[in-house]
Assembly symmetry: T
Homo-oligomer: 146 residues x 12
């Protein structure tokens, strides 16, 4: 099984700024740990981060028929990008939306998502733990759907 | 560590109706399985279901100083009960909001929640798997907060 | 054939207060008269009134596979209870929404109903006559659906 | 007693199109059957259908002091015609609003009605049965008001 | 003269939690002190607290023709319960709405009340002093209305 | 100079119904009196009433290059007819909007007009006097514009 | 009979600025002409202009029991002053709202008025002619009301 | 193949007024030219213009089972007529919505259409060229659907 | 202790108009009675009424460091004056908002207040009794805050 | 004459996914066919597709003074990109907005476009035929504008 | 060149209250410093502060044909005064809107301004530096416009 | 001290298009002049323009701990990019938002900004002078904050 983890804009800053809020773990460590857990599940996990809406769109295109499920923390693009939504629907790959922070505890404009209604499910607010939970949820969905 | 799982209105019907959508697992099995997983984590999990807003409010009151974290699938009350929100804030126990289905894929009135902004985090859409993910997220939160 | 009549909050006051508006017929008389009409139609009509949202939810649960149609005057809960909506949808029993008064001639918050869009039909404004009309409509629906 | 049944735009198509949804009964049959029921109640029922807002307005004007009650299925004009509302209020004849389908189960713009708040009552969703229920409700209202 | 004090959901927690905000006075003491002041005014004050919407509705029903005025701190139900509003209007007993905290200094959803427009008056924000002010206002209203 | 007075739906009922509100003067008398005043001003006034949106549209078309100004009391069509607005703009004849009653003292849907923003001016609330004032205003506008 | 004309903020600039739009007639001339017309009607007209909300409020207070009708062009205060509305209602003197320009052809915030719904009537858009029309409408109202 | 072109209110004025905006081509010429193009496509095109909502509704009814596709420029009725929408859906004939001008460059109330969501497609803004484009689009749709 | 009572626009009319609604007590009597009660509490009460927004603003400025609490019935300015809000916040004096009538039983625009969210508390609807209740609430607040 | 066709995000997937909906024609074929038609019209058509908002912006910049008209199917950016709107307005090249699907038959957020109000015209819903229609409309506009 | 600086309500408190937020510089010093800078630019700067809407309106009137540009910090009146907007437009003097604080970082009602859309420009958030920047911007505008 | 000037999409067109509106100064000249002024202030100013949201995001990331303040004219991204907002907050560098034109005098969608509430301040409407004013404001802020 092949999974893809997509991290959107500003997530490359993880562990480098606002460490009092987000902790000192950087994105590479998160990805590595998650890949480790994936391997134990006999799953291959590809990790991708980009600050560019179009690169994310194209990475999703490239996954067509190659990837069984997508984990996506689209960051700010969650609330502004219909293009990413369209790409996800275009390739017909099940995906889980995830967020580090609880978006409902933040500004009003973060309460609306272009991804939620078509996602398998949503995990938000658990910090870096959100990644693991989302992957488990996605794996469980794929396995029970087959 | 003591956790409480609260299930709100209509969740007692699980596994008994609409089994094509929700599966044939009933609430008792879900609770049992979750309690089993809790024990492995050295955690005591209490389970409570009620169709009554006031019983849920009072069960939360009773948890004051006795419970370390709450898992709550408030069902329809998620969208209509400020009383449950107030009870949760009143006892100051960290809680996770969870849903079986993806509420964003359903009617508009299910997109608003009185619980989300004060929750640790939110898990929705993974079917009965949502319970496990929520418990893991809550446990991780409690352990890393201490 | 088995029908269930549900009356929601404050309807137990019928005939006891505001008799200039609602008349002097109390709920028991309405129920009795309706049961009489049901018998003539070879239909068994059960009557239930409660001021409690959860009792109404549970009465609907109890009707699962036992009741062929529900007449519901949910009173104030029409406008505030998603739990009752969910219960009605959960048991998959056809129902008719009815009101004594014309809710569109009253406060704005009574113009919205959580029950209407999934009901067979709606009868409102005919005073106690609304009950008879609703029962006829429901019976006709059930008979022509079979 | 003299009643008037008004059917608005597109209702002349009944039984001729979308027969899988609306059945094969055409408007003439509905009117005939209803007139039959009216006769049994010692009531004279006049039937009128028009696709024209102004013809409906003028038919209402013509009823002034000649008609004791109006049954109106204004179809699409329910949601767009203040002129028909004004005509009904101008002649001060009690009226019942009725619909074949459940308008709350359809597009948002069908949830608003210019007729409801001033009607005796509302019947919707029971298919052609709506006509009978509406007539009974209207008759009962007229008789108990005198 | 007979008055009734109704306290809604979560108010039983007073003095037991968040004592830094709400003080250490519990509900029993408030009730006792208020009853004392009532006696000095030759008034009998009954006190009732419930977390249940239906119990509050029914307590109001029971007051019909027995109680001259109601003091109500409906807590969260202020913003969600049309049933309590209907009960208060049904028994036609004058009532005063009161709140411990200033609801306008809190979440947006607390700025709307189903009780205010039909109340004699409103007192909010004075902590436990709100009860005394509300009782004085209600007494003055009843005495000057006679 | 040639003027046209247009009266919309239900205004043919003037003086025939609700005479306690609108008085006993009928539309013919209003038109006659206004024509008399017009003659004194050396103005020819044509009067037209219709309950039909399309007849009003076509009467406006017919006025193209023949009429110097239009007085229009479009009644209910004020609030629902873009077709009449388009006709008035299409023939480029200055017009005054008038109403018998004060539309701002009535239902919310009467506060919006499709005619106001392109009218010379607006007169409302003066009963049948509104016609005279509107004609004076229109005449003055035409004379001072030349 | 005693009438009062109130002109609100910026109307003292009439005839002095933007003369291409508003013409070269200044406020004094308008007042003088209107007083002349009033005298012919055996009416005493007092004229008052102020840029101050409170002075207008107080001038209305001073009219209590001394003035039979008020003509008011409240200018910008039309859209922002509840105090002037309250003063007008407080003294219970019938008033007519008038505007030089067509407020519906201008910014959105000029489409809302705190005065309209309680006014006898409204005249707008006729330039300085609006004053004469408003006075005639007011006089006619007062005379036919007695 | 049989097509029907429907032109709504005020379109009979084309080429007769506002010729600087809409050009000097009148509706008859447009219809003639379009019929010519239709003939070359072996298609019979019927043309119909009416200022009356009900006549348009009835023309659509008459097309039932006789017409393969409808081109409709409903003019102002685009934004106000649910009756025309219902007629189009009732006869189940595919239709294309077209406009001479770009409705999005005009008043806000022209941005909403009761026809768009059920149309095959939409062409707007190309002046009289819109008719040709719409016919081509409709023909292509019909031919590729068979 | 020094308190200040501020009464806003139109309150000088109290007892002079609409005496059937507001009673025959004028503002001077209210102020006198309140001053009397204040003296018994060893409190000096200054009373100020103005119809002018700026005079109220300046009176609040003058209170800086001289006044311990403010009672304010800002009348219509409650709903329109951000300047008074800013003045109250600028001088950092605790204040209580009060109203004679129940503003929630009146027009929609009276349901919004620029003063409520920063006030100690709110008293409304008790007629002239509102002043006493507000003073007691303010005194209690000041005394328990020290 | 020089035209430019711009296709936005996800349109490179055409013919490769969801072929049951969009058909098996890929973007290259569409472009080729359109270029062929352009040549017959003596027009040079450049084709450009990008998933990147900034690349589209820059392609528009590059067209300044080189291109006579633009055909743009901006896909998801239609609803989210003000930058593309600004680029189109900046270079002052007439453009036509086009869509494969009928955007009004899809999600609410697709009903709003940042491009429509400044476009020559709009073509949507005709599948790949939309490209041809849009090019014809644009050509006709350019030719008749010169 | 003659400039006018207008400061609105509560700005006379500068440097006297909330000195931790606004600093200890009072309005007189700001005015003096700004006048000094103006002199160096060969510009005469008049300074005016008022808490009164009408005094500000009248000061603007007085500037007609005497002042070349206005700097206005209207404080709370920015958000509530259409009268000041009208005065500024009436005298046709270019003006710059300025604020000490960043109004977008404050309450929602401060995000709307009646002055912005007609101002030359806007400067906000720089504390007392906002005055200098605004004056430079205004001077530059006047000089480059001539 | 190190400052960064960021110019967003389409600003590279400055001086090249719409020169009647924006003047003939191109972006390079603006940058050069501003750098000159910066040098006089002993400040090093870096200039960056991009049409790409992600390049702007990444340039902000690169500024972390290297830049003391940012001047940003984000153009269209001001109104659509949460990613840029997040980047600015992520690196915790004070920034000033600036615009050439007065955004409040333009389309409604330009009145909302994702950058304003967290900016030091805002300068808009002064054309290329906005850059100088913004830099002065930013410098003053940084110097007085240290």
């Amino acid at each position: 099984m092949q999974l893809l983890l997509i991290n959107g804009p500003n997530l490359n800053l993880l562990g480098r700024r606002e460490t009092d809020i987000y902790g000192t773990t950087n994105l590479e460590s998160i990805e590595e740990e998650l890949r480790g857990k994936a391997i134990k599940e006999n799953v291959d996990l590809d990790c991708f981060q980009s600050n560019s809406e179009s690169e994310i769109v194209e990475r999703i295109h490239d996954s067509f028929k190659k990837v069984d499920g997508i984990l996506i923390n689209a960051g700010a693009y969650t609330h502004t990008s219909i293009a990413i939504r369209d790409a996800l629907l275009g390739v017909s790959i099940p995906y889980v939306e995830l967020h580090l922070s609880n978006t409902y505890a933040r500004e009003d404009f973060r309460h609306q998502s272009y991804l939620s209604d078509k996602a398998i499910g949503l995990v938000s607010g658990f910090g870096i733990m959100s990644y693991q939970l989302a992957m488990q949820g996605l794996l469980n969905h794929i396995r029970t759907s087959n």
